[in-house]
């Protein structure tokens, strides 16, 4: 049960994955672990099969998504971005960055009033995409601390995009 998601689906622990190979590995393992394959009257075997199935599904959900995959690689390297622990969780951003995020919100309000929300959204989406690319480069270069910072920037920008989408 100590397998990580990459091991579980037989993939190399890196950001660049072959999508077809990943999907093939998932389908093969999901079929093999399907709870219907075990004897219906064996409760413990059935529970074990359900747990194995759930673990395979979770691994696939994580690895097929480029953002989740990047965040997971950073987590394996010791930075869990869902935690706010300063040493092992998401790194804190500098004050200047937070001020920029507040100013972005003020710009969103102005753009909404002025009818230029789409252009602003495109701009923020481009920044979000750049942050992910920077994180992937850092992961490829083995710098997981830098990757964690880029991924946190991406989360803030994602939050902003979600807010803009709620306005529509």
């Amino acid at each position: 049960m100590d397998m990580d998601h990459f091991e579980r689906l037989g993939q190399p622990a890196q950001h660049a994955l072959d999508r077809d190979a990943l999907e093939h590995a998932y389908l093969q393992r999901a079929a093999a672990a399907h709870p219907d394959k075990v004897a219906q009257d064996d409760a413990s075997a059935k529970r074990a099969a359900m747990e194995a199935s759930a673990a395979i599904n979770e691994a696939y959900r994580t690895l097929r998504d480029p953002v989740k995959r990047a965040e997971y690689l950073v987590k394996l390297a010791g930075r869990d971005l869902d935690s706010s622990d300063p040493d092992s969780g998401a790194p804190q951003m500098p004050q200047s960055f937070l001020i920029e995020m507040i100013e972005h919100r003020e710009r969103v309000a102005e753009a909404q009033a002025g009818g230029s929300l789409d252009a602003l959204r495109d701009d923020i989406e481009a920044q979000e995409s750049d942050a992910l690319s920077a994180a992937v480069s850092a992961i490829d270069g083995g710098d997981h601390e830098a990757a964690a910072r880029h991924l946190v920037v991406r989360r803030y920008l994602q939050r902003l995009l979600d807010e803009i989408d709620e306005l529509d």
């Binding site: 869902d82 998401a90 951003m93 803030y156």
Partner: protein
């Protein structure tokens, strides 16, 4: 996911939303963020004679984060800077009945008021050559 009545009340009817002039010597500004979810909170206080006369906030985040900052701005008005600095996130979480997954929202509000006080103290320490709390 179930928000308490108090959270919903603050969320639908937030107190003290807005901004104060950050260049005013009497105004302290705290800006903090929750890296895990991307919430951002700006909280400002206006201090006269060591007492917080006004407080404003702008929070971009979930209902619990908005309610936590709204509650803090309500609480700190009329408090001394020292009193406001001793507010604990547990008091906020208790008042709003925040569930464990939303405790970090109350932590954010505590961090924000502490950051605003620090900003005020740094501004006034530098300008007047006196420490904070020494108003005469």
């Amino acid at each position: 996911m179930a928000y308490s009545d108090k959270v919903i009340e603050h969320y639908e009817n937030p107190r003290n939303v807005g901004s104060l002039d950050k260049n005013d010597d009497g105004v302290g500004t705290g800006i903090v963020g929750a890296p895990a979810c991307g919430d951002v909170m700006k909280l400002q206080i206006k201090v006269e004679d060591g007492v917080i006369k006004d407080a404003k906030f702008k929070t971009y985040g979930c209902g619990s984060a908005i309610a936590s900052s709204s509650l803090v701005t309500e609480w700190v008005k009329g408090m001394s800077v020292e009193e406001a600095g001793s507010i604990q996130n547990s008091q906020i979480a208790e008042e709003l009945s925040l569930p464990p997954v939303k405790i970090h929202c109350s932590v954010l509000a505590e961090d924000a008021i502490k950051a605003a006080i620090k900003d005020y103290q740094e501004k006034n320490g530098e300008k007047n050559g006196t420490g904070a709390g020494e108003t005469r």
